[in-house]
């Protein structure tokens, strides 16, 4: 079994879900509570990766990251090396690709918090930050778990974007799904099967966590 590829995939998925959590929370907060009438535009942008073929997203990411693309040029100026076909480039593209899987559960759970609780928090003197950390976030924990788990699982299983942006460099950008594709191409069905099973098991475990959390199997407080 190709442990390198598995570890690389896990590392990528971990990084991506961490990054998405950090940038997804403020964005989801804004999308959940802003009264700006044009916010549907941003919502559409966030949801785009759901409907775009990964190759389209990967293509644009590759062009932007290439040595002549704006992002690639900026990166070379800042760090002295390009983005395309690197692990960092892979992370950036995956963040875009898994964006809706992190942001949409967050928006849904933030919107699900009773507005009266936010009013109560305000009249008790709490500002927006304190209200977020003490009320909104604890009551949105199932949504947060869902966001982390879904973006993790989605990144773990991506193929098209990785192929476009990362190529197939062993130990750098050869993830599990690419590895499986490789094995099948070279008729190593046994090895492909083992890798595929691992991915299947991980995906099932991860989705079980999401559904259990949303059924409030482990939540510490009674559901109303």
């Amino acid at each position: 079994m190709n442990m390198d590829a598995l570890l690389l995939s896990l590392r990528l998925a971990l990084c991506v879900s961490a990054i998405l959590l950090v940038i997804g929370m403020p964005l989801a907060y804004w999308l959940a509570y802003s009264k700006w009438r044009g916010k549907f535009l941003l919502e559409s942008v966030v949801a785009l990766p759901l409907v775009l073929p990964p190759t389209v997203l990967g293509f644009y990411a590759l062009v932007a990251m290439g040595p002549h693309g704006p992002l690639g040029k900026l990166w070379i100026a800042l760090f002295g090396q390009g983005l395309a076909f690197t692990f960092t480039g892979l992370i950036l593209a995956s963040v875009l690709y898994s964006f809706p899987f992190a942001v949409q559960p967050l928006i849904a759970s933030f919107e699900g918090v009773d507005r009266k609780l936010l009013d109560a928090s305000a009249v008790l003197g709490a500002g927006a930050m304190r209200t977020f950390w003490r009320v909104i976030l604890p009551l949105s924990l199932p949504g947060v778990v869902t966001a982390i788990v879904l973006s993790f699982a989605h990144t773990l299983g991506e193929f098209g974007v990785v192929l476009m942006v990362g190529g197939n460099l062993a130990g750098v950008t050869r993830t599990v799904s690419i590895d499986i594709y490789d094995r099948v191409q070279s008729l190593e069905y046994g090895e492909a099967n083992r890798m595929a099973l691992v991915l299947l098991a991980i995906s099932f475990a991860v989705l079980s966590v999401v559904y259990a959390v949303n059924r409030r199997v482990w939540t510490p407080w009674a559901a109303k």
Binding site: A120, A122, V123, L124, G125, A126, R134, P138, W221, A222
Partner: protein, 375 residues
Amino acid sequence: MDAVGGEVTTAMLAAQIRKERRNAGAPSFVLDVSLEVPPGITILFGPSGAGKSTLLDCIAGLARPDAGRIAAGHEVLFDSVGAVDLPPQKRRIAYVFQTLALFPHLSAEENVAYGLSAVSADEQRERVGEILSAFHVENLRNKKPGEISGGEKQRIALARSLVTEPRVLLLDEPLTGLDAKLKSAIVDDLRTWNAANRIPILYVTHSREEVDALGERAIAIDNGQVVSSGTPMDVLDAPRRKRLAQAAGFENLLEGTVLDLRETDGVMRVRLGLTACELEVPLGYAAAGDHVRVAIRAGDILLATEQPRGLSARNLIEGRMASLQPRGTMVLAHVDCSGVLFSVHVTPGAVRALELAAGRRVWLVLKTHSCHLVE
């Protein structure tokens, strides 16, 4: 704090508020009130949809008036002319919602301590302990809101609001759904607390019972306007509008025409509708020939099966029993008096003793001052 060395705080809440609710561009509802709330409990009374909650939201800073001024004592909280609009966090106004809005993931103690983030941990513990015992819920400290009863939740919500030492307390029907005994126990605790702290308390209700039991003063609002204010008795017994009269439990609301005024006796005679039925009512701002409305409580009318004599009550009306409907421990009787239908409350015992039945000939006895003129 305004109080210095034991001096009593006399910070009054004064609010002039105008707020329009628009529906497709056209104002569908206008709240336009001016009120003063001195320390103590003032009841804000009115039918649902009268604008009570909107008014409280404006005072608390959760809704923004279109125009007006809100001040607590010397501090201006909102002034559309002076462009003052303190956020709710800075108003020091406590607000207990109808839904209570306790934080479901925090224990009772953590809920109560929520508004005390600015004080030291020691002081926090002390003040939370004090207020929990003042409202008799110290044993619930570690319980989550989902684990405690309705009445206890109401006590926790009151404690959470009052522990912050607010300068005004707003209560939006906080005791709905509780039985009368529990309600009065909680209100007693609130009174005890307020005897020591004396802040203006605005208590919203549409229950007549609560107006009688709680308030030192009452303000009645309807359709976005203050329609009367004064003692609870004044406000309840002088309903100025039909909707308010119904909300206040005046089951009989009768249309009539003023026949004549007897100013020396302080009364006037009113003919009900186009019937021969006449009532003597207290003198009001009306002239002979004016159209008026008279409100009478079903519980203020006496029923007799023989023509009574030698009574001080001035209104004696003959009629026929139209129907009798049991309503819990009471029977609602409808009596037809030459075309005017009166609602009368009698006890089941009286129904048996007088052998009341539909079709029976009866006399209604009404004191002049049980008849209230409605504008």
